[in-house]
Amino acid sequence: MSTTTVTVTTAATAQPRPWLTTAIIWALLLTVPLWLPMLGGYTALAGRVLVLGLAAMSFNLLLGFTGVMSFGHAAYFGLGAYGAGLTLKYLTASTPLAIVAGVLLGGLAGTLFGPLIVRRRGVYFAMVTVAFGQIAFYVAYSWDSLTGGYDGLRGFSRAPLDLGFITVDITNNATTFYYFLLIVFGIATGLQALLLASPFGRTLVAIRENERRARFLGIPIERHIWMSFSISCAFTALAGALYALLNNFADPMGLHYSLSGEIVIMTVMGGMRAFWGPLVGAALFVVLQDYISSMTVNWMSFVGLIFVLVVLFFPRGLLGMLQKGTGK
């Protein structure tokens, strides 16, 4: 997996020594249960970083690598969460099927919605995505009988993994569940890396860089933005499904535009031109949220202040800045 990532980052953004970043990140992720408790953290916090990091990285396929700004990605995150939750509650006690259902629900919603917006650009694109997100929010909010409305969807829990020869209990053991999340995260980001290193991935960067040139090289812009949007939504929905499994809960706030905004903040703070940037941003965001919210309910003001400082002083984001600083 690390080798594919290396090719992506060199090909797509010409960053110095991206393999080093990949190696460090994987070393840290794999050893979380060893060092996190020593710093006063708990494993579920790392799970949140993985899940929100995956959401931000999926969103970044669109923002950082296609150059298109969606402000409604929480919709697909939330649909993924509800898809997984409803499957576990009403259909079957299977964790893999719940994940598949979440991905399908969010991915299909994005795929069907995409053609309506691919001709819009910039602020218009962003506004229509917000509007769709709010529609999804109000549906979940109002459809009490199915979704539990404002209180959220409860009464489901992740089921043990039956691998045929062995059953893995991911229901109680936090560390086992963390590694389960990490495996899914690894597969998803590996696929994203392969995607970005492919000819299709390069057409997305081409669209980001110069739409007119891309069109005059024969690339059908609208179709490719649509494909990128659909893929991005499906991966975001995967993150949402994992989120429902993490909390054994799904609620309308998972669809709300404030979460869309947080996904944007994580991505920009970490660095939208760096493959792992959004993960770094998500880690910072989740840790700040956890730490500051234990002291004040106004934690968001502090996160906002830090966001402003990062954007002012490190416009390439934290990881973008670190890679630039150490690479050459």
């Binding site: 953004t13 000819p199 299709f200 390069r202 081409a206 110069n210 007119r212 005059f216 090289l217 490719h224």
Partner: protein
Amino acid sequence: MTMLDVRNVTKQFGSLVAVSNVSMQVATGELRAIIGPNGAGKTTFFNMISGFFAPTKGDIVFDGAVVTKMAVTERVAMGMARTFQITEIFPELTVRENIRIGVESSQGLRQRFWVGSEKRATVNRGIEEALTLSGLTSQADRLVGELSHGDQRAAEIATALTLKPRLLLLDEPTAGMGEHETYAVANLIRRLHKQSAYTIVLIEHDMRVVFNLADKITVLGEGKMLAEGTPAEIADNPIVQEAYLGKAE
């Protein structure tokens, strides 16, 4: 054989007639220059040929097919490529990556999520060819945005060439360039025309470039066709001298 046949095209923007009833036939292998004072409608004319917008009236026939209302990407697939007055490239990518995107698109790989090693080798050969042809091999791994104006233009032309176009449209390829850069780009165009037998239509302000390179010249003025002929004929044409060249003296 005729590669491009423009038949009585007119383009109106509201009440403004930018191009009025202009026709032009370009033979295969020909290098045609379009000249005319500012506001003559040259770029509008170009935009209709390349598919930026459709003419109000008239038809455009490319390689035997009517393409008047065809989308840009369809024309590209038929073998039309163009460059722009203000260079259009992928500035934050290297020269090689710019060219790679063109090569992969022209080889029909643009929707592929995976390519085998054989195909990858073909792509790399295409990249090297385009680099050699444009003389950019030594700059291949620099970001295009960091190159000189002239080299950026060469990179844009090289990227357009990856499409192996049957018709290459160049909108003011030497615009804003100094003596030395103009000479280098003019030489590149000459090589493409003489050695590689490309059919080229270009808009150009630099008269030395035009009269040195072109097989035939089309002169536009105020949206109308003023004259058409070989460089010698155009130089001697009294209407052209009065309307265009005469002003300079």
